[in-house]
């Protein structure tokens, strides 16, 4: 059976619409890309929990408005198997205990915001960074060198936000 010209045009239109929908569904506003994170060791502890240890892990991503973020650490110890999925490698999920971490947020044509801390907990799947009480957070902000202290500190890397509560102390030096 041959198709009329109108039927062919309708078919092409439906196909194009479907393709556009598929592309839209697969677009992620913010992707976490593991640049370097080779588990150095992976073992099951006495409780039956899978534990991994990584050296010099590095994560990066881009927020919806184009702000790039990077997270590096000296070491990362993974606890728990986390969730796995077709697009999520197992070592990118679960909770990580980081040491000597540094996170940088970079907007186009502007100085980056960077923060550093001796220790933190990181959830790669949600990009949530939690710093323990009493941790010194040092960084740069608007042309100033900044040292922050707070009872509670949390950062969401994909949203490029930082929140300190429970009493905040900040010292700034002009650079």
């Amino acid at each position: 059976m041959t198709l009329t010209r109108a039927q062919k045009l309708i078919g092409l239109g439906l196909a194009a619409t479907g393709l556009a929908a598929l592309l839209a569904l697969n677009v992620r506003e913010s992707r976490t890309i593991v640049v370097e994170a080779q588990p150095a060791t992976l073992q099951t502890n006495t409780s039956g929990t899978l534990v991994g240890a990584m050296e010099a892990p590095r994560y990066s991503g881009r927020s919806a408005n184009g702000t790039e973020w990077n997270l590096t650490a000296a070491t990362a110890n993974q606890i728990g198997s986390g969730q796995t999925g077709e697009h999520i490698p197992s070592h990118a999920t679960g909770e990580l205990r980081l040491t000597q971490l540094a996170a940088t947020f970079t907007r186009p044509d502007e100085e980056p915001l960077s923060i550093a801390s001796q220790a933190a907990t990181y959830q790669p799947h949600t990009t949530q960074l939690t710093l323990p009480e009493g941790t010194d957070i040092s960084g740069t902000l608007g042309g100033y060198t900044v040292v922050l202290q707070a009872a509670q500190a949390n950062a969401e890397l994909s949203a490029t936000t930082l929140r300190l509560t429970g009493g905040v102390s900040a010292t700034l030096w002009a650079r």
Partner: protein
């Protein structure tokens, strides 16, 4: 008894000593305490909230909130709610909102009652514009006279 002079003037320009050292030029560290801090880097904003206190050298700023907009450097600094500047023991300015723009070195204080006090002398209006480069402060009041009280010092 010292005579007290009361003036009602629509506009008064007053040259006073520096009540606030220009933040852009003062190299002393800035110390800020508050209940919370929120940084939204995607929009270039950092907001201190709850009993905010900023100290730099002999200057102290207190307010309910302090918002900084930044990009390549500090763009504006805005303090809101019970804003008060104090320098040493002799100079005070207060209002509802204060905005500092580093590029023009201009501090603007607004509110229902903006007060500039140096020693026993006082200016009251609804807007204070202080040019930190020229050290000229201008107090105005829309729709009415500025209240000024001068106490000569022996």
């Amino acid at each position: 008894m010292r005579p007290m002079l009361h003036f009602a003037l629509p506009l008064l320009a007053l040259t006073i000593g520096c009540i606030t050292a220009p933040l852009a030029q003062n190299k002393e560290p800035i110390r800020i305490t508050a209940e919370a801090l929120d940084v939204q880097h995607s929009s270039g904003q950092a907001t201190f909230s709850g009993n905010v206190k900023l100290v730099q050298g002999g200057l102290t700023l207190t307010a309910n909130r302090l918002n900084a907009r930044y990009g390549n450097g500090l763009e504006t600094l805005t303090a809101t709610g019970n804003v008060q500047f104090v320098r040493g023991n002799t100079e005070t300015a207060s209002g509802d909102t204060a905005t500092y723009e580093p590029t023009t070195q201009t501090l603007t204080l607004t509110g229902n009652k903006v007060t500039l006090q140096r020693g026993p002398s006082t200016l009251v209006g609804d807007k204070l514009v202080y040019n930190l480069a020229t050290q000229v402060a201008r107090v105005t009041k829309q729709g009415g006279p500025v209240e000024a009280t001068f106490v000569p010092q022996n």
